[in-house]
């Protein structure tokens, strides 16, 4: 694993990102836009599931578009995040906050796309908690690394 991380960190791609503040800034900007879409989708889908936002409407009216916005957010955030990860791959991969962030992305996505449409209101509460936890972990990683 460490060999792969070292290879990626020393690759031309990671160097291009790390050596260019402009590329890093642009990637980070689209990463943040993805974060906003994920948060917006998570709030809409999961508060809808909980019956907080539109209690009289069927859950799929919120869960489906909410999940689509989360998917768009992930499409923006994951590739940009992978590129931003390059210049600091070895250190980041050993950072426990970063590891928690990756774990939360996987678990929150599994709950959102696998369970939300079928599960009870408790799934909405779980989904919302996981996405908010991910957002807080992401903030912690950016600011305290």
């Amino acid at each position: 694993m460490d060999a792969a991380l070292t290879w990626y960190q020393s690759s031309a791609l990671a160097s291009a990102v790390g050596d260019s503040p402009t590329i890093t800034a642009v990637l980070s900007a689209f990463h943040a836009l993805g974060f906003t879409f994920i948060m917006g989708g998570a709030l809409f889908a999961n508060l809808g599931k909980l019956g907080v936002l539109f209690p009289s409407r069927p859950v799929p009216e919120m869960a489906v578009p909410g999940s689509r916005l989360i998917a768009l957010g992930l499409v923006l955030s994951i590739p940009t995040g992978f590129l931003l990860f390059g210049p600091k791959a070895v250190n980041a991969a050993h950072n426990s906050t970063f590891q928690l962030k990756l774990l939360l992305i996987v678990v929150a996505s599994a709950v959102q796309f696998g369970l939300l449409r079928r599960g009870t209101r408790a799934v909405g509460a779980l989904g919302l908690t996981l996405w908010v936890g991910l957002a807080l972990t992401a903030c912690a990683f950016i600011l305290l690394e």
Partner: protein, 164 residues
């Protein structure tokens, strides 16, 4: 007092010192700012998508607004409040940053768009409240809002990488 002098004064306040000097002051306020961003822009987008006729098309526009407004309001208060606190610590650098100026201009555009919608387009809401596809003026307001807030997010992040 010029704007630049005001920025200088802001940076000399106790609040600015707290933001820039304390170990966790800046990270905590930035985290609050990002959460406020998710709550505000992440919610306003759903009202914009309703105006565009893309979601909740059988729910009246007025009801969508009424249900989302409390979350949006809390989000915007948190985002603008924490943004103002961050600004006090780095007012001079922000004043000279082109992305900060672009961000302010885009926030003003989003604000004017919302004000125009509430003052004029919404006046005739009773006539199209239940339409699945609202009139062009409402759809335009929704599109401008989504575009301007997305650009605010992009400019905000560009700013933080070019200011320090």
């Amino acid at each position: 007092m010029t704007l630049l002098q005001m920025c200088e004064w802001l940076e000399s306040t106790k609040l600015a010192e707290l933001v820039t000097q304390s170990t966790y002051g800046f990270p905590i306020v930035v985290a609050i700012h990002l959460m406020g961003l998710g709550l505000s822009v992440g919610t306003v987008i759903w009202f914009d998508l309703r105006l565009l006729g893309k979601v909740l098309v059988t729910t009246p526009v007025s009801e969508v607004y009424r249900r989302l407004a409390p979350v949006m309001t809390i989000g915007f208060v948190v985002m603008f409040g924490s943004g103002a606190v961050i600004f006090t610590g780095y007012a001079m650098a922000a004043y000279n940053n082109p992305y900060f100026r672009a961000k302010l201009a885009l926030i003003a555009l989003a604000g004017l768009n919302a004000a125009f919608f509430h003052a004029f387009t919404q006046k005739h809401l009773a006539g199209w409240d239940t339409w699945s596809h609202p009139p062009a003026s409402a759809r335009t307001a929704g599109a401008i809002s989504i575009a301007s807030w997305a650009l605010v997010v992009l400019a905000g992040r560009m700013m933080s990488y070019t200011m320090f």
